[in-house]
């Protein structure tokens, strides 16, 4: 069930979302990574990052808040120590990159350009870093600029990951497209907070965190739908996908491919189960390819 994202060809349209799958090793013990369309690795930064203090997680009604804060070993370590393992699988590798400045994004792109990664995912939307991050994702001009600059610094297929914490996501998506993005991925997490009423302080050490999981699905589906009407590049849809039915909602709304995030934590085998479910659905509904389903919402 391969899918061609205008240049990036995946074996199938079920990928895993950045930050929810580490660098693949852990879930490699549960599933055959060859069966996943692509793996978006944990967000990378130029230097190693310690991330935020713990607690870093709160469970919320059918969702979770995380404030990992981009803990990662740095891009050089990734290239040397993690990429070879990942490359041994027949799956696409998406490097999720995170800078505080346009310069840092470009530097990251440069470093990854001559490696085995198949695509870069520009995370301009992580709510868990203090500078840069969110500001980038909210301002259409900045989105255009950072996309364009990164694109100038790499030959890699470029995905821009959008933040849902905006008033008009169509506009942001369109800016990324103008800047030269090959593909958009959405949504990243919504910003939220959880409070311990006995201790009278936020549960997360950092106060706020990113909301993911089923709770956000209705917002994610709406945004994918909106953005798909506003751009002409492929979309990777995500946000609360727990089963094949959820995935099909995203395809109908206009996603070419889906990414599974939080659901991995609940069921390490879920991505494979979702893939199988999609296959059956396509058969049952008489579609010959996933592409035929994309954007078929009757509305």
């Amino acid at each position: 069930m391969s899918v061609d994202l205008n240049g990036l060809v995946l074996n199938n349209p079920v990928t895993v979302a950045s930050g929810t799958f580490g660098f693949g090793r852990e879930y490699g013990e549960y599933i055959d990574l060859n069966k996943i369309g692509a793996i978006a690795v944990k967000g990378l930064t130029l230097e190693e990052r310690q991330g935020n203090p713990t607690p870093r997680v709160v469970e919320t009604p059918m969702g979770m808040l995380n404030s990992v804060g981009l803990q990662n070993p740095g891009v050089d370590y990734f290239i040397k120590e993690e990429l070879p393992y990942l490359s041994s699988y027949d799956t696409k590798i998406i490097a999720n990159i995170n800078g505080n400045t346009i310069y840092e994004y470009c530097k990251l792109a440069e470093k990854l350009s001559n490696t085995a990664v198949d695509a870069l995912e520009l995370n301009i939307s992580c709510p868990n870093v203090k500078e840069g991050g969110v500001a980038f994702g909210r301002d259409p001009d900045m989105v255009y600029k950072v996309t364009k600059k990164v694109k100038e610094n790499t030959d890699k297929y470029l995905i821009v990951k959008l933040s849902p914490n905006v008033a008009d996501i169509k506009e942001i998506g369109a800016s990324a497209e103008s800047g030269g993005a090959n593909c958009l991925s959405l949504i990243n997490t919504l910003i939220g907070m959880g409070i311990d009423i006995e201790k009278q302080k936020p549960i997360l050490a950092r106060g706020i965190g990113g909301l993911s999981g089923p709770a956000v699905k209705p917002v994610a589906v709406r945004m994918v739908y909106e953005v798909s009407k506003a751009v002409n590049i492929p979309i990777i849809g995500m946000g609360g996908i727990m089963n094949y039915q959820d995935a099909v909602e995203f395809f109908l709304a206009g996603a070419w491919t889906v990414a599974v995030g939080t659901a991995n934590f609940v069921n390490p085998m879920v991505s494979i189960e979702i893939l199988e479910g999609i296959e059956e659905y396509l058969k049952r509904k008489g579609y010959s390819s996933i592409k035929a389903l994309v954007g078929q919402l009757k509305f």
């Binding site: 310690q50 979770m64 991995n264």
Partner: protein
């Protein structure tokens, strides 16, 4: 390949107020079990994430856990009935290192006593002292007595055994007899005291710690804690690199 397992609940009894012992089928998928490892359990449909619960004891065809009602998840788990099926992931985590030293002290506080049961079962050849502390009502004491002779109990209110903290017993034991290694699990305040006392008496100590988890398998990085090593402070994952750490390395509550 690892897989999640569906284990039928064989028994569920309240062994003390708000403390349940739940026995489940040991299905093949669970594989080998080391003392100190935990299961990541889907407690209810209404909750998204799993909950980490230590394996308290493992027998040929069953696995036991001991659960304290702490919040929604553990309350749901304690309400699950005989015959129902539990969706579990595991065994997860590193577990205790059991081949160090002859004279062993095992010290647990409250629900932290649960995983120590499987540990003492695996210390048969050793000279083991078990010290367990509770607020008021002790539990699992008789289970420990099946495997070791000396089981000293402390309760904060003095209702059973020594009145005071179990760490007082540890101090006394080390003062009188010394030890080669200490294993401990319990609330953070207690672990900190154990860590300090062990350092004072220059005894090796392994601590099983708790941290909020999401994936439980090492992928999400929400459960990190810090350990000191020769090349400075490192962040490690409680779920995968722990939950058991050496006392001279792990930095508690930092």
């Amino acid at each position: 390949m690892k897989n999640r397992c569906y284990c039928k609940i064989l028994d569920n009894i309240e062994i003390a107020p708000s403390i349940h012992k739940i026995e489940m089928e040991r299905v093949d998928g669970l594989g080998n079990i080391k003392p100190g490892q935990f299961l990541h359990i889907k407690c209810s449909d209404a909750l998204l994430l799993r909950r980490p619960i230590s394996i308290s004891y493992a027998e040929k065809d069953k696995v036991g856990i001991v659960v304290r009602k702490a919040g929604e998840g553990t309350v749901s788990l304690c309400n699950r009935k005989k015959g129902e099926i539990l969706d579990v992931l595991g065994p997860l985590g590193n577990g205790f290192t059991v081949n160090d030293g002859k004279r062993v002290i095992v010290i647990g506080g409250g629900i932290g006593t649960a995983p120590l049961l499987e540990l003492v079962k695996n210390l048969e050849e050793k000279d083991v002292t078990v010290l367990v502390g509770y607020k008021d009502m002790p539990y699992l004491v008789d289970d420990f007595k099946k495997y070791v002779k000396v089981v000293d109990v402390a309760t904060e209110d003095g209702s059973v055994g020594y009145k005071g903290y179990v760490t007082d017993l540890l101090k006394a034991k080390l003062e009188n007899d010394g030890a080669d290694i200490i294993y401990s699990c319990g609330p953070e305040v207690m672990l900190k005291k154990v860590q300090k006392i062990a350092k004072e008496y220059k005894v090796k100590v392994q601590l099983s710690i708790e941290e909020r988890m999401a994936c439980g398998v090492g992928a999400c990085l929400v459960c990190t804690c810090k350990v000191k090593s020769e090349d400075g402070v490192k962040q490690v994952r409680t779920c995968k690199d722990g939950p058991v750490f050496w006392g001279d390395e792990v930095m508690l509550g930092e």
